[in-house]
């Protein structure tokens, strides 16, 4: 199936978050991604779709996997990509955000993939730049392509999103992955429960339209999907939890505890994992784990996003 036919129903210049997307738009991205899976399975994993187009990967915050995934997606679409990272460039030399924006403007890339430690940065850039902006994570706000690849992975495993019970466990407070996933899953009709120690779950979590619990077993009960989040080990220094040992005992996912979930549960993790902290190796490497599928699907989803945003630019020069 050719991806071109999906491009007709896409009109956005940027992808800054899931919050603004309609279920239809989410569907368009997921369907487009489906059509790119085949490319990654070829011997020569490259199509000329974005030849002559420039994509700037602007990472103000360290990232290995998201950046690699975007780069790979760009390369498979034959785009010219350029990497700017936070350390060792002007980005860390006290330049204001708008100066960075003006510099980018002067280089006029077609698309800018941006990761920043502060919420709202991609949104500000999207407002001021003609280039298309893709949010690759802004603080604890959104990480739309992660949520999309998660949804893509769930849909491939379960055939649907609506009606599923999805448990998201761990450091909810500091997670952009959770926020984008909550937007996406609730828009698509899934039921979301979030769980973690009270110090790592926002006080106003319910206001996001999800169920909140502080009991791992209650969260796992009847779950179709279990999403484990990475725990930042240094958080215990701010008295958010007392020790890694205690965290694992209370919120670590083990095979025994996973039994409360549905028999055909899938276990996900956005990575990088802390084995023995939030997830036991037996689960991470076990039969229910789709963690590596997520990584592979990430490339297809990002190819789809790059493709759709670029198609908009082609229509309106």
């Amino acid at each position: 199936m050719s991806p071109e036919r999906y491009a007709e129903s896409w009109t956005r210049k940027d992808l800054v978050g899931i919050a603004d997307l309609s279920p239809t738009e989410i569907g368009v991205i997921l369907d487009t991604a489906e059509s790119f899976v085949e490319v990654s399975q070829r011997q020569i994993k490259k199509v000329p779709t974005l030849r002559g187009r420039t994509v700037l990967n602007l990472f103000f915050e360290a990232s290995t996997r998201t950046r690699s995934s975007f780069e790979l997606a760009e390369k498979r679409l034959s785009a010219d990509s350029l990497n700017f990272s936070g350390s060792g460039s002007a980005l860390s030399k006290g330049e204001t955000l708008m100066d960075t924006a003006r510099n980018l403007e002067a280089m006029s890339p077609d698309l800018v993939v941006v990761r920043h430690q502060h919420p709202g940065v991609p949104h500000m850039l999207a407002k001021r730049l003609d280039s298309g902006i893709i949010n690759a994570g802004d603080g604890a706000h959104e990480h739309p392509t992660q949520a999309l690849l998660d949804a893509f992975t769930i849909r491939r495993a379960k055939g649907r999103l609506d009606g599923l019970r999805v448990a998201i466990i761990g450091d909810i407070e500091h997670s952009r992955v959770v926020r984008s996933n909550i937007h996406l899953l609730t828009k698509m009709g899934a039921e979301v429960v979030i769980a973690g120690p009270r110090t790592l779950v926002p006080l106003h979590g319910e206001s996001l339209g999800v169920e909140v619990t502080h009991d791992l077993d209650a969260a796992l009960e009847g779950a179709d999907v279990v999403m484990m989040l990475r725990v930042q080990l240094e958080r215990h220094q701010r008295a958010l939890f007392p020790s890694v040992r205690e965290y694992f005992r209370l919120f670590g996912l083990t095979e025994a505890r996973l039994k409360r979930a549905k028999d055909d549960v899938i276990v996900m993790h956005p990575g990088p994992m802390n084995r023995g902290v939030e997830i036991d190796s037996a689960v991470a490497d076990g039969p229910f784990s789709v963690i590596l599928d997520q990584v592979a699907n990430g490339v297809s989803v990002r190819m789809a996003v790059l493709f759709l945003l670029m198609a908009v630019r082609t229509e309106t020069p």
């Binding site: 919050a19 204001t96 955000l97 708008m98 100066d99 920043h116 502060h118 919420p119 709202g120 940065v121 949104h123 500000m124 407002k127 802004d138 603080g139 604890a140 706000h141 959104e142 952009r176 926020r179 926002p202 006080l203 106003h204 979590g205 206001s207 996001l208």
Partner: protein, 439 residues
Amino acid sequence: MSGKSTGDRRSVLLQGARIVDPSQGLDEAADLLLRDGSVAAIGSNLKAEGAETVDVTGKVLVPGLIDGRAHLGEPGYEHRETLDSGLQAAAAGGFTAVVATADTAPVVDQRALVEMITRQADRLGWARLYPTATVTKGMAGSELSEVGELTAAGAVALSDGETPIANAALLRRALMYASHFGVPILHRAADLQLESDGVMHEGHWSTRLGLPGSTSVSERSIVARDLFLAEEAGGRLHVAPVTVGGALDQIRAAKEAGLQVSCDTTLHHLLLTDEAVHSSTFSTATRVSPPLRSEQDVEALKKGLQDGTIDMIVTDHRPFHADEKEDVQFSVAPPGVVGLETLVSLSLDRLVKAGIIDLARWVELLSCAPARIFGLPGGSLEVGRPGDVTVLDLDAEVTVDPSTFRSQGRSTPFAGWTATGAAVGTFVGGRRVDLPQRT
């Protein structure tokens, strides 16, 4: 350049207006005669030999408005605001006086600085300036400033500005010591440890936007502490500002119990909620301190305006250079917005026209109360009081356009808002303030 050179001995007769002055229970059509810098008469069909007559038919005259808190930048932050630009902004916005904060560089903790700022403002003549001095030397939160010297030089209040006094023993002593001189201590009630890295009000919107939240318990707990301290120490505590419903309730109860406490709130805390961070897509013009609060807090504040718990509305005018405020992302933008040129129109429209308070109460909040709290000669049009008058046109249609501001600061969350009602002129010390054409 300033109207002051024309001399104060002239008489001005303002004819045909409605005069609203709650200090003398006045709301009627009358003429107002200003002579020798003061109010000389109020009455119908006043005649004054040799007086310049000004036709203000259809307008409303009120005692000159006083902004209880504005950051004017000078000395030290002239790239943000100067006394010239700030006081022109005040006059353009309808204020005849401004209580200036002490958080300049150097901070106002010495007599010479109080005098220098006051003299400079007098020379400009756009509006009166009443300086605030710091509670502690260098605003460092350890040693008391020379309160006697500073108040003798003209400081009308003490404040360490945005920096809360964490040390309760110090605030207790400051309240005791300041009571010798009758000046209020304006305290920003906040617990910075509790607020931690918060950049907006903690609630649904901070949760959704992934921005570190600042719990309203910070304000509530420090207001509770401060009220206990004031109850024992005496002195005059002024909560600057109150933004949380729960804190307001405590102040209300303390006032009912007879404690000498006062408080203010800002216009942006009355007209906006934390949702504005979202709807403005992280605009740094919604980054203020204390942060914009919840809808319930805003409702509580409006009740506080109605029942008298809130004494004043202030601008908390806080200009920044665009490089530091508008060219950066929300989380790192310094908190604060300008307000001198928007408060009158927006409050007339959103508070008075909207029926939340009446015009007399509005005048009380913006003129009588600040005069009373800071011990200023204005705040009333009684005969013999200073000839400080603000002229209002309640029918003027206004659209907020930051590019027309006289303030050097442009960051306002109200850009593009429309309102009915505006200040169309001011008189200070009996003379009309004529601002130069904007260049």
